[in-house]
Assembly symmetry: C2
Homo-oligomer: 142 residues x 2
Amino acid sequence: MSFSFDDYISISIHKTDLAFTQYVKNKLAAFNIAPEQNLIIMLLLKNDGLTQIELAEKLNKDKTNIARMVYNLEQKGFIKRSPDVNDRRSLKVFLTDKGKELSNIVIPIAEEFNHVVTKGITDEELENLKVLLNKMRENLRS
Amino acid sequence: MSFSFDDYISISIHKTDLAFTQYVKNKLAAFNIAPEQNLIIMLLLKNDGLTQIELAEKLNKDKTNIARMVYNLEQKGFIKRSPDVNDRRSLKVFLTDKGKELSNIVIPIAEEFNHVVTKGITDEELENLKVLLNKMRENLRS
DNA sequence: GCAAAATAGTTGCTATAGCAACAAAATATG
DNA sequence: CATATTTTGTTGCTATAGCAACTATTTTGC
């Protein structure tokens, strides 16, 4: 067999992403927030009242997933959805008071996670890494 | 809000992994193979007769997922499971003839995918990238 | 201004992904 | 060698992840 499985950069990236998700999942479990739900919370902390489509675009995800994650967050009482008065197709997503309180939890966890992950890696290396990742995503678009 | 969402390297890696998976999924769809099922096929092409636990270790995944993916591959007729004669707890996973024929499909697709992804990126950059990804995974272990 | 096309969201489907609890078998330990 | 522990695989649960088809709106084009 001429190929070497572990040489594929995609495999390396996939395994890294899995490890990241698992780590964050464990950190957030005590607060009843799943990793992707957490990303939505963080987006809303920066920009409350986004529509589901806007959330989907910012997370590069299918709107179907967003709808289900947002529904779960609503069940948990962290967010509230209300129809856009100017466009009744759209649902605007707002943090509840309970959701806003998560700020004190999720941002420190995200910062600490990022700090742990990037230990021993220079800012320049991180910048190069982001450029390469962007380039690879671009390569798939064309 | 002091954090900047897109600055997290984990987000960049996650989005890249999603893009990769989606691309491969589309390439493989015509052959009735899902992306992760494809990884199992490729591992078996290199090393037929691995047990489910061995597959799980090589893919850094929970054995639960492997069991279900292998079950699906068996339903599709690509693999066959038989108990290990020396250890009746273990199931050894073998490619069927139909599974072996996939070699002509999945390896070219993997090579072509890798070629497209790494366009405009030097071997040295790829090597540095792998080192950084490994370092980040290691950072989470300690 | 009305039909056609586009957009936002939902439902149903399949495929990952991991944890807890379990059964069956193998290994370790006294 | 009998019991305790470990190992392999399964089942049930929850949470992503995306596609196709659908409804309800809004926008476009004529």
